[in-house]
Amino acid sequence: MIHLTVNGTSHALDVQPDVPLLYVLRNDLQLNGPKYGCGLGECGACTVLVDGIAARSCVIPLGIMAGRSVTTLEGLGTPEALHPVQQAFIDAQAAQCGYCLNGMIMTVTALLNRNPSPNDTEIRAELRGNLCRCGAHVEILRAAHRAATLVRRDRAA
């Protein structure tokens, strides 16, 4: 049994420790936010937060997650109660197919956890390893800037 917390709920999982976290989240916990893109840590589609830090769930064996807290896209917010980063991505219409969207939102969230006022260069550097084939980059960058504003506003409030 491996114990971990996902989106605030604790789980005891009877799964081999070498199974990638991504499969556990998607198949055992039926969470659709994290996506399989490459399985090699190259594209960012599978990004989740582990104790608040961005993590590529496709290359993380479940075993090393024991006792940790994982947040997926679903855990940030819902359509009724959006997280400010999700709100910003919707406001900026920052997706085409949206397959990369999970990774973009989670990576920006992790960045803003660390640095609530990133500049454009910092945002681009942080997203360097998040690939988008549709070319939604312009809207995603706008969303990231807007997210920073919303997050700061939220914190001030």
Partner: protein, 1198 residues
Amino acid sequence: MLHARDALTRDGVLLIYLPPHGGGPIQEEPAAAGPQQPDDEVEVFLVVDRDGFVTGYNGHVDLGTGIGTALGQIVAEELDVAFEHVRIVLGESDKAPNQGATIASETIQVTAIPLRQAAAQARRHLISLAAERLDVRIDELDVENGVARRRDGGNASVSYAELLRDGHIRLALDPTVPLKATAHYRVVGQRQPRIDIPAKATGQFTYVHDVRLPGMLHGRVVRPPYAGLDAGEFVGNSLVAVDRTSIAHVPGLIAVVVIRDFVGVVAEREEQAVEAAAKLRLEWKTWPGLSDLDRPEQTLRAASSRPRVLLDEGGSAEAIAAAAQPMRRTYVWPYQMHGSIGPSCSVADFRQDGLTVWSGTQNPRMLVTDLARLLDLPEERIAIVRHEAAGCYGRNCADDVGADAALLSRAVGRPVRVQLSREQEHAWEPKGAAQVMDVGGGLDAEGRPVAYDFATRYPSNAAPTLALLLTGTIPAVPNVLQMGDRTAIPPYLYPKRRVVVHDMAPIVRASWLRGVSAMPNSFAHESFVDELATAAGVDPVAYRLRHLDDTRAIDLIKTVAEKAGWVPRTGPQSLPPDGDVLHGRGFAYAVYVHGTFPGTAAAWSAWVADVSVNRTTGDVVLSRVVVGQDSGLMINPAGVEHQIHGNVIQSTSRVLKEQVTFDRTGVTSREWGGYPILTFPEVPAIDVVMVPRPDEPPLGVGESASVPSAAAIANAIFDATGVRFREPPFTPDRILAALNPLPPPAKISSGDFSPVATVPRSQKPWRRWFGLVGAAMAGGLGVAMAMLPGRGMIAPITRPDPSVYAAATLARGRAVAALGNCFGCHLGPDGTALAGGHALATPFGTVYATNITPDPFAGIGAWSYPAFERAMREGLSRDGHHLYPAHPYTAFTRSSDADLQSLYAYLMAQPALAHVPPRTRLHFPFNLRPLLAAWNTLFLRSGTLAPDPSRSEAWNRGRELVEGLGHCSACHSPRNALGAEQGGEAHLAGAVVDGWEAPALTNLSKSPVPWTEAEFYSYLSTGHAPLHGVAAGPMTAVVAELRVVPDSDRRAMATYLASLQTSSLPQPQAESLAGTLLVRTAGISPEATAAGERIYAGACATCHEPNGPALFGARPLLALNTSVHSARPDNLIHVVLDGIATPAHPDLGAMPGFAGSFSDIQVADLLRYIRARFAPAEPAWENLDSNVARIRAGDNHS
């Protein structure tokens, strides 16, 4: 969601349908009339129902462009209902209209027309019902939000919903109903937020990847070795044998499905299917192999083709021959990929009564046809449920995986989900074809063009669904599709035009990709016109305008040039450089013509590109693009703008970076390192100019803005450098090669590939040890040695009662066991602790670790402490026989009595396991254990070390642990001629064990920053020394075990190890040296390692670059890494191929292995780059290719 089929049987609806065989004459039926057409033959376009909702059906699908939103706007507009009350159902195969594949930006331009017509017709019918109900004339009514009201302000009103309370109204589509005038538009033309984004941003959206069915199993396919080839005798005929036993042990395995070259596995869980697919052993025939496609021009020219003359005005050859300046140019386009971010996925459920496939297909109808053929089923029994997938921009593997899932589901009788791997999607997706364009032309004395002779070659077709070929259902004969003619006619008013397309069968699997053949063709047209302008000494924009008569094109070009602040010029290099950085600006214009020749024009597009080119590195930066588009009426301007952005970014990526690579076996670009795409820091500023044309029909916008990209960028690079580039991608190595012709790299001779014979042979200790003993035997010495007896048996005892041991003793014993790595070597089957059986493979046979649990028979339960101590200090078993020095008693002998006693206690307190490990049986003469007595006489120095009073207690303890229980020297010391560890200088000076280099722990370390006590401590505690690297290979388990060791012991070991460094540095200085190295190597861009640099950037940089994104886990910096600086590449090769699956400490995160993703050549390229950039002071590694092949083959005996 209302399915089209269900609507046919519902009450309270108004339904517009297409009768069989098209619209035909108007045949409006009386309201509430019963169905006149049999339900099976109609296609439903639109349903208005009594809930006030409207559902529109379109045969196309959303490929990630938000097309559903635009269609919803069209329906809302014509029907005068609120946008929020419209649902659009795309790509349903059952009763929805069949409108062919979603290609060529046709959705809005072509297939939306009947939907709009249907909406207008529904409104007309409803308003006439309303007039009847309210007893007014139709022209006295207004409709807003689905409610009809008297225009004169009277109170009477009725809603569509109320009009549809009962009955079932069914109308045949009437193409003559008048449409709303654009002047009255309220919804169309407004920026409308996409309806799908909130669900996508919160994880609530169901992509095809997210479909789950009760009882669903997981499948994976195993593709043949001819990666990405789909034509030829060998396709479907190459599988020789399947070794099912190779995966019999995989848990949860349900089935292995083999039909000729189609191979799939099905398992309960996804990771089980992955494991089975990876481990299944298959034997394939050899096949002819592929000719060189990395520079495709010659291959395309050599392949057979059929010329098709699209246009010949006559006299072009003569005109060119007579020109004042004749010009002949060739432009070449590389193979490229769709590169969907999500590899294709599908779920299939095959039952007695039929098949349902959940699919991200571009063309549900075609998939039905393919599945019917593949499974020999009638088409009516196949249903496709279309879900969105990752954006595909053309034909990717979506249909392939649907067919794969169907075959697997049929085999197991349950629903099966198949997910292709990244490598499979990359290797097998039908590629965007390479293309060769030859242009002939020239100028007369006045600088006017004399003729245009254009020929293009495009080897591509519709890429038949793979399973049909692999199973031999259809023959793998390449058919020819006439799709090379998109935008083949130049847009300019050239005299004497001749345009020929050489239709060709594919060379590798290829099909349409965004801007199908038009993007390459326009690259040639728009580069050539630029070349003409330069030759004529005329500004390139002015020259274009001079030779155009299309007023919308002229308007667009002028608008874009003005917006960009275009400054007319007559030659290149008009902008001042900044040192080594040259600046340039280029223009291009194109209209994307799609569909069967002569085709239909989609939106017009024009680009102004600003680039800077670094003369010393070859880097091209696209800093800004001004892009203009005339799209006719824009349904959703926000969607159009988004499409333009997407096209600019994706096409920039294609032009600057993208090219599929091949070797003789097929496609070698199998992940994002081998096929890099544009990243955020490279995204240019984009200014979009949208020409308003509300009165013109809407045009497709999905591809147009890609088409001018390559020429605009090439023209800008020409402006910057004065050098013309005619073959994308414009990568730094190509730019550099053209700007500063360098001597060609020394050709690698075949001698360089000669196998390991030239590698310095540093044998692994076991082989040397055994080898020497064997030699001694041969010399006759052995006979005498063999006579030396052991020293007798120690009497058995009853297993001590574990309850006599104090908890503290047991805890200490646990730590001692960890220090001695007892668990690692004495591992039992299925990971049971200490039960033995772990095999140490040697060329002379296998040494099996023994059971050291307290079982009296199988283990050491009958051993007294003296027997145990003798084994630890002298290498004798209780019964007196010699243990092989695989058991490191030469080191253990240094342990303190207290440590050995607590270890004994700990072992005796463990559960007794009766497991009997296999006996070690070595080949003669190595099976003669008594030989060891002689060896021990020579090399075993029994007993503890006397404490050194001049040193601290910690140092003495550290020495005892490092030299004793820790037996570090067993791996880290080289061995002498008789296989014993060397002392003196050589002690802990590094060695190779089991194919891994155990690096020097002394000053001989190759690490660029000297080891410090803090670094050793960090490494031993966490497996990560920030200034040196992370534990990999055999060290991960060693360090992981040390976590139970008292902190003071780890510190003591660090103290002792640091004392071995004669030139250590204080920690702050070590850190500042590391900082200097990081800065120095950040700027190094080694020459001649371009391929490796690309792989590094795509596959490694995210986790290893000093300034990469903050990610969970360690960030090992290669400029400091011990393995990168070693004399041998072995450790690095191991780590690249196999990754670090189980880290020494959970905080380090894991590293994926790339063995399944990279070819040997790619690993070698990558390592060459890493070495050159991060260890610039070290010599290049030699024979990397063959070393990678050797280590991949599992040959650790170098």
